[in-house]
């Protein structure tokens, strides 16, 4: 794919990141410093409106910081030329709102993320089906998103985020509407991704149980990181 020299230090570095909306009226991020190592699993928690989604969107190159610098997998987010390709190749993004396309089947919603990828056409459908199996909804492949429960939709969104084997997974409340059994299944999948493929995971959650599975919990408040704590040492 791209230069392996860049790949080896897949990580996220945010330095004094500010994001200001509405001409200074809203300071969503007020100087965030955060480093995530390659293969690390970080959970971000904090009250509603503290800037968690905003930070994730900046990591995904969906927006640019007002000031400060962000490097993701070696790419400088302030000077990124091909943000589409970056998102497709580097980032798997699970939105807070699942954002599925209502016209397409569940399988189609996963396959559509592979457009422009290096995976041959013939294999795309099979791989999408495998990802659906990973999140335990293989049997729903032909349904429309409107025919799914909230938790099932969330799992489609997770499968879609993994469609291009991204080295970095950014997930915004991916377990928000899942029951505890499904939460465990999803967390198990995340652990497997990390162990088998060294996927770097940044996960936003309000759930302390979910956060407890991560290597590190980052606490945010009013657009700033207020505490960081390692959860466990295996």
């Amino acid at each position: 794919m791209s230069d392996p020299g860049v790949k080896t230090r897949s990580e996220i570095e945010a330095h004094e990141v500010e994001k200001i909306y509405d001409d200074g009226m809203i300071r969503a991020l007020a100087g965030v410093d955060l480093t995530v190592a390659k293969g690390e699993f970080v959970a971000i928690t904090g009250p509603s409106g503290c800037g968690k989604s905003t930070l994730l969107h900046l990591f995904a190159a969906l927006d640019r910081p007002t000031s400060g610098t962000i490097r993701v997998d070696g790419y400088d987010m302030n000077h990124l030329r091909h943000s589409n390709r970056f998102r497709r190749q580097e980032i798997g993004l699970v939105f807070q709102l699942h954002n599925l396309l209502p016209r397409l089947s569940v399988l189609g919603n996963v396959e559509i993320a592979m457009a422009g990828s290096h995976r041959p056409y013939a294999e795309r459908s099979v791989y999408a089906q495998k990802l659906l199996g990973d999140v335990d909804i293989a049997h729903l492949a032909d349904r429309r998103p409107t025919q799914l429960s909230g938790g099932e939709r969330q799992r489609v969104a997770i499968a879609r985020a993994l469609a291009n084997d991204p080295p970095i997974l950014l997930a915004d409340e991916p377990t928000g509407s899942l029951d505890s059994a499904s939460v465990e299944a999803v967390l198990g999948l995340f652990q497997r991704l990390r162990q088998e493929r060294r996927v770097t995971i940044v996960l936003v959650t309000h759930d302390n149980v979910v956060a407890g599975v991560a290597d590190r919990i980052v606490q945010m408040l009013d657009g700033k990181v207020v505490s960081e704590q390692a959860t466990r040492s295996l």
Binding site: D63, N84, R85, R88, L93, L104, I112, A113, A115
Partner: protein, 372 residues
């Protein structure tokens, strides 16, 4: 999930709108195809007049609006006949007359009986009329058949009753649907004594036809020569006008259609803002989004063009059977007409879809995703 399948899924999801756009394209394509086949049919019919006389080329008055309005006098006919390289020059008067409802534009040819063989006419029954006879006529065999007349019957034409002296064949359907009169009789009736419409020229073997044409037109700039059906347009301004109308309507159809298609797509784009935002957010390039939207336009164009050609078939067959237009309108379905229909449809759709496509591709993903 190929792009094609996605395009089809998107169109299917909005069936009634898709059908509406395709139908609008169909109407425009129908107009264009119909004008094209009708003007090409007229060109053929008019050119058929010229092919009746088995000549090397035809001489007409330069710049008349309708070839039947061409007028050449005795003196000019004589000059053409004595031009070097001309073997014979047959002056023919062409008129049309409404003889009944089924024949609103019955062809009447004024020709000297001595010129019949030069002109390529064979008398298949009876005999030719007298050179200066007043109430005599020969009918083309198709006309005789249609009218149910035989040698010796009476035929009302040229404003009077005439005896049918013979039946002729020209080998050209258009000619065989008409009648032939002694030249002076037809001239007198139409008050054009001493003038003919066209001169059919045969060149002496061994002489170059283009050279003879050239020497003729350079010494007679008021005359023009016609050799092929396509050259025919030069002498007939009505046809030039009709052809221009077909071209103009194509351009107009493309422009107006593009605006309609563009507007409708722009509206649907507004509803689909979140979809485009999502596609960009999961890594779709702008180009791919443009292809998606333009692709939808192309599918609509192809469906619309097919509809338009079908509608055009229906429209021309209705027009051809209108009593006022019987015998006047001949649709000539050429491959060119189909291509013109297709590129009209495609032009409308691609030009119309381009702006919405670029708008869609340039949405800011996050803003688009938060669109309600």
């Amino acid at each position: 999930m190929s792009l094609v399948r996605l395009v089809l899924a998107n169109l299917w999801a909005k069936k009634s709108r898709s059908i509406g756009i395709a139908f609008a394209i169909g109407i425009a394509v129908m107009t264009v195809v119909t004008l094209t086949v009708v003007s090409s049919g007229l060109e053929n019919a008019a050119a058929a007049v010229l092919t009746i006389g088995k000549s090397d080329f035809t001489v007409a008055q330069n710049g008349v609006s309708d070839i039947l309005f061409s007028s050449i006098d005795d003196g000019q006919l004589h000059n053409v006949g004595s031009t070097k390289g001309v073997a014979n020059a047959v002056g023919v008067l062409l008129e049309t007359e409404k003889i009944n409802a089924a024949n609103p534009l019955f062809l009447e040819i004024g020709i000297d009986p001595g010129d019949l063989s030069h002109f390529g006419v064979t008398v298949v029954a009876g005999k030719p009329y007298g050179a200066t006879a007043n109430h005599q006529v020969m009918l083309g065999w198709r006309a005789a058949q249609n009218l149910g007349l035989h040698v010796g019957a009476r035929f009302e034409g040229n404003g009077t009753w005439n005896t049918v002296t013979g039946i002729f064949s020209t080998g050209i359907a258009y000619g065989d649907l008409g009648a032939m009169f002694p030249l002076p009789a037809l001239q007198a009736r139409n008050r054009v004594a001493g003038s003919v419409t066209l001169i059919f020229v045969k060149v002496v073997p061994g002489f170059s036809i283009p050279k003879v044409e050239k020497s003729l037109t350079s010494s007679h700039p008021e005359l023009t020569t016609i050799r092929t059906a396509s050259e025919f347009g030069r002498a007939d301004r009505n046809l030039v006008f009709l052809q221009a109308a077909a071209t103009g309507s194509t351009v107009l159809a493309i422009l107006i259609g593009a605006v309609i298609v563009g507007n409708t797509m722009l509206l649907s784009l507004f509803e689909r803002t979140r979809e485009f935002g999502l596609l960009r957010a999961i890594g779709w390039t702008r180009t791919r989004v443009v292809f998606l939207v333009v692709g939808e336009g192309i599918v609509l164009a192809v469906a619309g063009s097919a509809t338009g050609v079908g509608l055009s078939f229906a429209a021309t067959s209705v027009l051809e059977h209108l009593p006022q237009l019987t015998g006047v309108l001949h649709a000539n379905y050429t491959q060119g007409a189909f291509w013109r229909g297709l590129y009209t449809g495609l032009g409308m759709a691609v030009i119309g879809a381009l702006y919405p496509a670029l708008r869609a591709a340039n949405l800011t993903p996050l803003k688009a995703l938060s669109h309600e």
